[in-house]
Every structure is written in C-alpha cells, then in structure tokens.
C-alpha cells in the first residue's frame, strides 16, 4: 500500500510527486501514456506568465502569481532552462489602449509588480521586428520562458531519485473507497493508498467524477502552433501577446529557450480530448493572426507544426484541493494555461495538504538537486574535450541539427524514469527536434534505444501503444547488416 497515489504524469503530477518526496511518505505516480509529459505539458506555449491575465480572486490568478515567483528556485534546483525575457501585450490599434490599462490594473490587483504601458517607439526599440502597426503595449517584466518538458521530466527524475515510484502505461480505470483506503485500478495493476491526488489533466474530470458528487467537466480546447527554425533566434526578444479574447490569451509570437520561435495557439473548442490533429483551418488562422505581430512569418523556415489540447474546465477556473465529499482525494482539475506557471505552487500546495492530512514528517535526506544531462551543444571546446575523455560517446553526434551526442541519448534512457520511446528521447535531449525533424538520426536513435533496452527494432515505438516505427526484417535477423 502506498501513502499517496498521484494520477497523471504531466507537469502538475510530477511537481506534486517531487514535493511529496520531501516527506516521509510512500508515493506512486500512475501515468496512462507510455511516458510522462505526453499530454498538455508537452504541447503548450512554454511561457512563465506574469499573472496579469487571470481574473482577480480566481485560483488561476493566485497560483499564477505564486508559481511565477517560485520559478527561479525550482529551475535552479532542477537545472532547467529558464529565461526572464519579459512579455509584451501589444495593441495594434488605438482602441486597444484602454484594454491595456484594464489588463495592467487587473495585474496589479492580482499582485503582479513591474507592469507598465509603453509606447510605439519603446516597443520598436525593444522589438525591431514587430509589425509597425503596433501602437502601445503592456510590458510585463516578470514574464519568462521555460522548457516545459525538461521542467516536467526534471521534477519526475528528482522525485524518483527521492523514492517516488513511477508506473507508465498505467491508465486508471477505476478509483473507489475501500474501507479506510483508496483502491485504484489501472493498466499496470490495482494499487491501494491512503490518499489520491488527481493530476489527470484532460481527464481530471473523469477521475474526479468517479469519487465526488461535486462534478466538473472538461471542455477540450485545441490550440495549433508553428515552430520556426532557430536561425531566426533573436528576431523577437520578448513573448509578444495580442490583446486577450474570451477564448484565451490570443495568438502570440515567442522565442523558446531552445532558440526556435513559436507562433500560436489558436483556440477551438472540440469534442474529442485526444484530437491532437493539426488542421488546415487552424494553421491558416495561426498564420493570419500571428502575422499581425510578425508581418512576414518565414513559412519556408517552419520546421514543424503541432496542436495541444487545453483542459478547459466548465467552472472556468482551476479546481484545486481536497474534494469536500471525498476525504483524502485531492484535485488538480481543469488546469490549463497558466498551468505551467502555476505548477510549482499547485504541486507544493497539494503535497503539503496531503502530507498534513496524513500527518507525515519531513524526510531528512531529501535531495532537491537534479542536474540535467550535460549538453554537448552548450559546452566550450575545452568542456567537450573533457566530456569525451570521460565518455567517448560524447564524440558521436547523432542529431546533427541540434548537436546531440550518443552519450546524451544513452543517458536519457538510463536516467530515472528514463526514455522508452523515440519521442521520449526527443523530449529529453532534443534529438530529432531540429530542422530535419529526425530524418537523419532516426535509424541511429532506434539502434541506441534497442541496445540500451535489449529490444528489437521492431518493438520500438514513437510514443508507445501501436505507434511502431518499423514493420519487418527483410532478411533473417542477424543475417542483415543492422549497423
């Protein structure tokens, strides 16, 4: 029996896991997909929001502002790329200026510091490539960008290092009270625990509604994005929003910590919460609205497109904390944007609440430090020589677009909660995330994954399930050249 079972391995579940690992508790995390970070946490805008956008006195506002203030510490402990690049909310007509004032006021009510309205000249001085039709903007000095997968994975690795057990391919089918404990049925078997924390993202309503009469419903909302090649790094410094609408924060143009640029997301209510398709209509819309900020988006240098689904809740706010009618069942429900920004605060709150209810004591030997896989592309030549001297696999560059070495790929598989799929390697190392989109490195990556896991290339998947990469050997296994 576990003390706590966390359902869901996104950024909220993994952050909660890490925070629970601070206590003397036996914790398990169940993830339905083949890997952690397979849902919202992998497909979002990767922004640390300032906190001006959420309606005052909502949980979104509260956790956004608190979470934002925790990022420096969390990212430094977990060695996760974070950049305070500031955000701008740009108005492209005079009529937008009063709305900027409203946003500024709203932000101040929420407790955001350092908001100011800047004029056209100042905007253009900061962002020389912004559309000249810009009139004014809200400058948000506490806006930042972060790598959302590395943040999620880093939390998971650190949690695992501190004793949390991770079960992947473990979709939860039933949660029920069985005497004084919770019984959780999953694809990886049935587990029991004293407490359950629902961090199931897009399915957080399904899990909650299994145990609580206080039901809520997720209304999935799809957003589509373009990623522009890193050769455009520096085109924009800040994350540039347009004035928000009732569907969200609008389409923005933002740099990522990896040097690429994102244009998106659209906002479209859909019925199917797994419908992560991109659509021609959605992409056209992202381009059209994105072009208001960045007039000549270089379509020739789009490296890929993707869609993410937000867990928009019919309560129009996060659902956080213990369910009133289900003691020791805690929710992180309806966590959509600004969920990534809120994650450190939500994870801490949920873990502390559960620990308090369970009367848990702090663990003495909790180690909050996690180091990222040393990245060859970020090293000096001297560091590279040292890295190769200690591990020759650092001399073999597998992903030439992102300069990822064999050593990094092997490490991503060997680490706690390590990669088991091609996409898992991609998110942990950037292998295949560059401009050739894994054209060159796929055969080599498959080979390394097979060597590390002792499996056949025919068993390798892109992201688990039926997503097999390959079909059959042409010759008797061993007869061909599998180099």
């Amino acid at each position: 029996m576990f003390d706590v079972i966390i359902i869901g391995g996104g950024v909220i579940g993994c952050t909660t896991a890490r925070n629970l690992a601070r206590y003397d508790l036996n914790v398990a995390l169940l993830e339905k997909a083949s890997d952690i970070c397979e849902g919202q946490s992998k497909a979002n805008t990767a922004i640390v929001h300032g906190g001006y956008d959420a309606k005052p006195h909502t949980l979104k506002a509260k956790y956004n502002v608190t979470g934002n203030g925790m990022f420096d510490k969390v990212c430094s402990e977990l060695d996760v790329p974070l950049k305070w690049n500031t955000s701008l909310v740009a108005a492209f007509s005079e009529s937008g200026i009063p709305k900027l004032e409203e946003l500024k006021h709203q932000g101040e009510v929420n407790g955001v510091h350092g908001l100011s309205i800047i004029g056209r000249d100042e905007i253009i001085r900061r962002e020389p490539n912004i559309s000249r039709s810009v009139c004014a903007a809200l400058l948000v000095t506490n806006g930042g960008i972060v790598c959302p997968y590395e943040l999620t994975i880093a939390n998971a690795e650190n949690a695992a290092e501190n004793g949390v057990r991770f079960y992947r391919n473990a979709p939860v089918t039933k949660v029920e009270k069985d005497g004084g404990q919770w019984r959780v049925q999953s694809g990886a078997g049935t587990f029991t625990s004293r407490a359950v924390i629902n961090c199931a993202g897009l399915y957080s309503d399904v899990i909650n509604n299994m145990v609580s009469e206080n039901k809520f419903h997720i209304k999935p909302r799809r957003g589509e994005y373009y990623i522009i090649d890193k050769s455009y790094a520096g085109t924009f410094n800040a994350s540039i929003f347009q004035l928000p609408t009732k569907m969200g924060k609008g389409i923005l143009v933002t740099p990522t910590v990896d040097g690429t640029l994102l244009v998106g997301p659209t906002a479209e209510d859909i019925d199917d919460r797994d419908d992560t398709r991109t659509t021609s209509g959605g992409l056209a819309k992202a381009l059209k609205f994105g072009s208001a900020t960045w007039e000549h988006i270089p379509m020739r240098d789009v490296i890929t497109t993707f869609a993410g689904i937000r867990a928009h809740c019919d309560r129009d706010d996060f659902v956080i904390g213990e369910a009133q009618d289900a003691p020791l069942f805690f929710n992180a429900g309806g966590v959509e944007s600004p969920g990534l920004t809120s994650s450190p605060a939500i994870g801490e709150y949920l873990a502390d609440s559960a620990a308090e209810k369970l009367g848990a004591k702090a663990k003495k030997n909790f180690n909050p430090i996690r180091k990222s896989i040393p990245k060859f592309r970020e090293m000096t030549d001297r560091e590279r020589a040292q890295a190769i001297a200690s591990d020759q696999d650092y001399a073999k560059i597998v992903c030439r677009c992102e300069t990822v070495t064999e050593a990094e790929i092997r490490a991503s598989i060997r680490r706690p909660v390590g990669a088991r799929t091609i996409d898992g390697i991609k998110r942990r190392t950037r292998t295949g995330m560059g401009r050739c989109q894994a054209g060159f490195c796929t055969p080599a990556t498959i080979k390394i994954l097979c060597e590390e896991l002792g499996i056949s290339p025919l068993e390798v998947t892109k992201f688990g399930g039926k997503s097999k990469m390959l079909d059959r050997y042409l010759f008797d296994k061993g007869g061909g050249n599998h180099a």
Partner: protein, 420 residues
Amino acid sequence: MRNVDIIIIGGGPAGLAAAVSAYESGCRDILILEREEKLGGILKQCIHNGFGLKMFHEELTGPEYAKKYIDKVIAYGIPYECDTMVIGISDDKTVTAVNRVNGVQVFKAKAVVLAMGCRERPRGALAIPGYRCSGIYTAGTAQRLVNLEGIMPGKKVLILGSGDIGLIMARRMTFMGAQVLACVELMPYSSGLKRNIVQCLDDFGIPLLLNHTVVDIKGRERLEGAVVAEVDPETKKPIPGTEQCFDCDTLLLSVGLIPENELTKMAGVKLGESTKGAEVDESLETSADGIFSCGNVLHVHDLVDFVSKEAEKAGANAYRYVKGDMKKTGGGVEVKNGYGVSGTVPQFIHPESMDEPVNFMFRPKGVYKNAEICVEAGGQRIYSRKSRILSPGEMVNVQLSPEVFKQVPCIEDVTVKVEA
C-alpha cells in the same frame, strides 16, 4: 592545432571527387572529414543502378560509383577520418571536429572544400495537417532503413512528392513486397527525372497523381490513412469534394532537398536566395577567401556525375588557391537569372582571367517546350541552343569556353534565360 593544406568537409561523392582531383593536381596534404562510419555519403544506400553514365560510360550502382573514388583515395593514400563531425568553422579556415579516437581536434587549413550534401524536407516543413503518428518517413530515411538496415518500415505505402528518391523508393518498396498505392505530386509536373518516372512508377502500374496533395493524416498512433485531394493548379489550394482516402501504414515524403549549409553560414559565407547554397564564382570559391563549395551543398543536383565533375573543379581550384595560383581579381561579374531560369551557378564569373570552360547550371522555372536556352553578356547573345523540353525536374548544363567571353568587350553582367 594542426595545419593542413586542404580540408574537405564531407566524404560523399562531392568530397571524394574533390579530394581525388586536388591530389591529382599535385596536393599532398589533404584531409577528408566524414561524419558517417564509412566514406561514400548517400551513395552507400543508393543500391539501384543508373549512376556513372556520364563519368564512366557505364551503368553503376551507388556503392559501385562511390568505390571508384574511394579506391583512388586509398590508392593515393589521402588521409580521411570517418565518424568525425565538424562542429565549427571560421572564415580564417580554422576547422573544429570531434571523433571518438581524437576527441576535439582543431585544424588550420589553407583551403577548405565544403561538401556536406543536403537533407530532405520533412513533413513538419510542409505543415500537412493531421495526427503526428508513426509511419511517416522521408524517402531517404526509408531508403536507409531498407537498404542498409534491412528493415521495412511498412506494408502499404503512399508517396508524397515525386522527387527522385521517392520514385526510386516506390520501386524499391514494391520489390521488397510492399504495396505502393500512388505517388502524389502537388505540381503539374514531376520534380524527378523522366527515366525514373518510367522505370519506377509506370513499369509497376503505380499511378502518378499530378496536381494533388495530402490534406489529412489519419491514425493516432501508427499511420492508418492519408487523405489526398486535387489542387487548383494556380493557387495550389485543395479543391473541396475531390478528397479520397488511401489506407496506408506508411507515408514517404520526397518533397525537396535542402543544402545543408549550417557550417557554410558559420564560416560567414554568403548564400544565394534561390539555390540556398553558397554564392560562388567560376572556380567554385565562395565569398570567403579560400573556401570552396561543391555538390549538393552548393545546389541540389539530379545526377551524381555532375556532382563529381563540379567537385573535381572545386578540388583542383582549392589547390590552385593553396599554391597562390589564382589569377582572378575582385568579386567578378554577376550572372543573373533571366526569364524562366532559377538558381544559376556560378553566381559570379571573371571573364578576364578565366582560363578554363565555365559550366552554368540552372533549373528551368516551369515546363517549356521547344524553347531556347540563351546566355547574354554585355548585351550580346553569346550562346543559344534549342531544347525540345525543359522542366524544373531536370537541371540544365551550359558549358562555355573562356574565348566566348573574350569576344565581348566590357562585360558588366551575364544573363542566363529561356526564350519560350
């Protein structure tokens, strides 16, 4: 830091021919740096025949063609390092490379030949809507899996784009027991060679759907189908109501090749808009002193034979540069793309000092029947020839001797054009 006369980046067809040519010109201090385990580049996986007709007057497979050059490299004792990735290059020709044996190495070269080849455009670059499932490969990746790893990616295949590798893979996948449903091409013409359309599609009854494209990808995990629609030939927009779904587990993309010029940019070399490769003059020297470029990294070729020819020139000229034997001065005269012409290489020539024939290579912008290919210099027509058919899929080669230019006084620019 190690000094080398000529460093050749890339041990594929271009790099090999450049090395052999530099050696045969007299250079005895050459180093080839190759990122893969073996020399030969993309030819290693091109096990079909059709190579070498121009250079050797015989039909060779890719590996056989490569071997002709590799044998010479070995016979001449030209040093090469495989499994070696160049990670840095500066305009003063300092080259940084890594491999398992030597770790990080820094070379100082007197001349550099860039011969890194090209990469394939991926799905992402096309923004094809739909799921991001497995089973979607570029044709070249599939070719590697099938021909070098001996593994079939799938059973039922649709091919998007009619580039040569896609056409070759249509036949290859058929030979290996897969069912190839169709080859879908956005343009009203194929971007591949005519002979490949005949030998790889027609001979196997594989339909070529011109003016069509993939508008949706089905399959949440593994690919289950691709929806194909006809497009308006003018706007390239799908025509509603023309959609048909092909049930397939594999989609191969052959939708264009992009020269891999990351190092070229790092060296501060100026790139051409239409070729996406370096701008070069008739000696194949780039805007950076002593840095030469050839093969698919310069501009995407149709035939390896022309890659070799171009690279031989780059190799020989690199050695002339090392010896201080280059006669040209200044940036040269610009070669302009006239009507119907795209991506002419070289972009600059030096008519005064030219002492060997210059090869203009370009791609027609569209399909032209019974058109004339012309070169004008200083307002005079210095060359023309009739061509029965011109198409973007077939590169045009025009060779002109230095004498032709010397007849024209005062050349300020040169224009290559099509008169349809």
